[in-house]
């Protein structure tokens, strides 16, 4: 049976299993990915079935994990690296930004860097400091990297397959608070393009644009707004770099209003880039300025305050009201 109902985390596990089966050059690397199966169990059972040479428990050193993955890629391997949590990626940031992103251009296109860096990201799970961050803009800003994030089980499975097959380095952000959400997965379907946005819900009055963990929040907000007689379209961006402005533009030309929602701080965030470009592309279509809802310019707060920090239904609906009031 091709179609199953699976949690997002399990879809990722199935995707890694498929990649390891399909291509002997694919490696899974990271802390605790072996016997433990990863702290979120995304790699559960993989080392047992594919061995320690393919599913590699590494020393506790993020720069080392990414740096050795670069060397393995130079030798012809396709490493899929797990960074345990978003806030732990920074020790590896230099290797990712200074080395991984630039290697192809520096070699005049003679080497490729087929590396996927999986990062569970975002808040909402009551974690301690450094375990709930959303650093996607920091990576999207860097030429040479691609940045994607699935919002459901089907995308988790297929986007990871596509990221592993890509000869470019892909930063693969996983919405950790959606790991346990079940969704349909058809493992025999023909997947959509990796970098194409998806209209998750049709509407006519306003576009809510989100990705990763905020897609579900925006779909819930659209459902509440519908009860109030408002027709909200929800677009799931899926890929942050490259970013599918054409799909966003088409939606905004239809609804004439755009609210961008993400967990990351608003200041210099992906919403700023989207607002600027959409204003440039759709200036005469817009009935209201592009509004943004996201985190504050403050360190991610302690868990007991995170619901205040993260965009929830009320803050999204408040922005919808403000846009519609113009």
């Amino acid at each position: 049976m091709a179609v199953q109902k699976l949690p997002l985390a399990k879809a990722l596990n199935e995707s890694l299993r498929k990649a390891l089966e399909t291509d002997p050059k694919v490696l899974v690397m990271g802390l605790d990915v072996g016997k433990l199966g990863g702290v979120f169990r995304i790699t559960d059972g993989l080392q047992k079935d594919f061995g320690e040479d393919r599913v590699i428990d590494t020393p506790l050193a993020e720069s080392g994990i990414v740096g050795t993955a670069i060397g393995l890629a130079l030798r012809g391997y396709r490493p899929v690296v797990e960074i345990q949590f978003d806030g732990f990626v920074f020790p590896a940031y230099d290797q990712i930004v200074s080395q991984l992103a630039k290697m192809r251009a520096r070699s005049l296109g003679t080497v490729k860097m087929p590396i996927v860096i999986r990062i569970p990201y975002g808040g909402g799970i009551g974690a301690v400091e450094h375990h709930s961050e959303s650093p996607e803009s920091l990576f999207a800003h860097v030429a040479g990297l691609k940045v994607v994030t699935p919002a459901n089980s089907s995308d988790a499975y297929w986007m990871l397959q596509q990221a592993i097959q890509s000869d470019d380095p892909v930063i693969f952000f996983e919405p950790k608070r959606r790991y346990w959400d079940k969704g349909d997965l058809d493992t025999e379907a023909i997947p959509g393009e990796l970098h194409k946005a998806r209209v998750a819900r049709e509407g006519t009055d306003l576009t809510l644009l989100a990705y990763g963990p905020m897609v579900k929040t925006c779909l819930e907000a659209a459902a509440v707004a519908a009860e109030e007689g408002k027709s909200i379209e929800v677009v799931d961006l899926r890929s942050i770099s490259p970013l599918d402005f054409d799909t966003v533009q088409a939606s905004v030309e239809k609804t004439r209003r755009l609210v961008v929602v993400h967990e990351a701080p608003v200041f210099f965030g992906s919403g700023a880039e989207i607002a600027a470009r959409i204003t440039e592309r759709c200036f005469y279509h817009l009935e209201a300025p592009v509004l943004r809802v996201g985190g504050y310019h403050a360190p991610y707060p302690p868990a007991r305050l995170e619901e205040e920090y993260l965009p929830g239904l009320d803050r999204v609906l408040d922005a919808v009201d403000r846009s519609l009031a113009f």
């Binding site: 040479d53 590494t58 020393p59 050193a61 720069s63 080392g64 990414v66 740096g67 050795t68 993955a69 670069i70 060397g71 393995l72 890629a73 130079l74 030798r75 012809g76 391997y77 020790p91 230099d94 290797q95 200074s98 080395q99 630039k102 290697m103 192809r104 251009a105 520096r106 070699s107 005049l108 296109g109 003679t110 080497v111 490729k112 030429a143 040479g144 691609k146 890509s166 000869d167 470019d168 970098h195 770099s241 490259p242 970013l243 599918d244 402005f245």
Partner: protein
């Protein structure tokens, strides 16, 4: 400032340095231990060109092989001098000279097999020479026409890496790949005393030890990280750090090409046998500035350079070869002619290097394409085309 006062200042600085050492606390004594070379140094050729034996590392080279090593060092030095001159003439934006480090680089470079892989920093011009890399390829990034510019797989010589120590992890990962492939080649990673402080170098030691990776870490301790002396990097001799990571470390006279060859060959053989990494500390000296941008007279004494000039790697091999009759006058004359020809060739090639075509900015950023790059490329092409006689695409 007058000549007298400059001299006075130098004297003061020198004497205060002496005083500081004389009244050293225990910890300062440890720091100076990092500098003392003699007790543990593997040497096969003294600064006077006397051949000496070492119980663990010995080597038996033919006259032809000795002439080959000498030729490599002379031509590398000539290439380096030409590049320095070209920088002074405004043809290169920057140059990182290898002057004084020829023996460390040629000795280690000639220990390699074709199927071995080299991960250099940005000063390994003589190692590149050993790998058969066209030396003019090295100049592209210094002239500003590319950021690397060669295919690393052509000569198994990776691109220069400017961020210190990053490449030691790439080397380790590559070596892990060799093990996975069941191959018996080895990897050598070059870095300096300054880079030894970097986390990446230490992480590469951890990874290579844990995975028993066939990698040789070749640290050229040239005593200075720009203006920072070795005492600012370490309190123990660098080679001793290897023990803490679980693999052998050895200090070799970095100005002795024979010793560098013997020690590196031994470490590579160990790696091939599946016995894991080795750290080699080649104890040497950077005769020139860090790069053409800095001024060593601001941070080090002339006397120090003079001490090291007496240990010159080329002069000592020449003395040995002449004494033992490994080469005649004709050899040295021919080499002189070849050197001049190399210098002329390098000069001509550099001056002829074209500025890349404008659209090259957008080349090779991604393998699979990227919508934003495509969009900006088109915008830039249109902008260029908007100028009369501009480059339209």
């Amino acid at each position: 400032m007058t000549v007298e006062s400059t001299a006075a200042r130098k004297t003061t600085r020198r004497s205060s340095g002496t005083k500081r050492t004389a009244s050293a606390s225990a910890s300062t004594k440890k720091a100076t231990a990092a500098q003392s070379a003699e007790p543990e140094l593997v040497q096969l050729l003294t600064p006077e060109g006397e051949r000496v034996q070492h119980p663990e590392y010995d080597i038996d080279l033919s006259s032809e092989e000795l002439r080959g090593l000498y030729r490599d060092m002379v031509l590398s030095r000539r290439f380096d001098a030409e590049a320095t001159a070209l920088q002074r003439q405004g043809e290169l934006g920057l140059w990182a000279s290898l002057l004084g480090q020829e023996a460390a680089q040629i000795g280690s470079g000639r220990a390699l097999r074709d199927d071995d892989y080299v991960f250099p920093t940005y000063r390994e011009h003589a190692v590149a020479w050993c790998r058969g890399v066209d030396p003019t390829n090295l100049l592209g990034m210094f002239r500003g026409v590319n950021n690397g510019g060669w295919d690393p797989n052509t000569n198994n010589f990776h691109l220069y890496t400017i961020v210190l120590g990053s490449q030691t992890l790439h080397a380790t990962g590559y070596a892990m790949g060799i093990t996975k492939d069941g191959a018996d080649s080895a990897v050598i990673a070059y870095f300096g005393d300054g880079a030894s402080s970097q986390g990446d170098v230490n992480e590469s030691f951890v990874f290579s030890a844990v995975y028993n990776a066939p990698v040789v870490f070749f640290c050229q301790n040239n005593q200075w990280a720009i203006s920072e002396p070795i005492e600012k990097q370490t309190r123990v001799p660098l080679y001793q750090r290897a023990a803490g990571f679980g693999f052998p470390g050895v200090r070799v006279d970095g100005n002795d090409v024979l010793a560098c060859l013997a020690v590196t060959r031994s470490a590579l053989e160990r790696a091939r046998r599946g016995e894991g990494p080795t750290l080699i500390e080649a104890y040497t000296y950077r005769m020139a500035a860090h790069t053409t941008s800095d001024d060593p007279t601001r941070y080090r004494r002339d006397a120090e350079r003079e001490e090291w000039e007496a240990k010159d790697p080329i002069a000592r091999l020449k003395a040995y070869m002449e004494r033992e009759g490994h080469a005649d006058a004709a050899f040295f004359e021919e080499l002189e002619t070849e050197s001049e020809a190399l210098g002329k060739h390098v000069r001509e090639v550099v001056r002829a290097m074209p500025v890349p075509e404008h659209m090259a900015i957008f080349d090779n950023v991604y393998a699979d394409g990227h919508a934003l790059v495509d969009e900006e490329r088109a915008q830039f092409a249109a902008y260029q085309a908007s100028f009369e006689g501009g480059e339209a695409e």
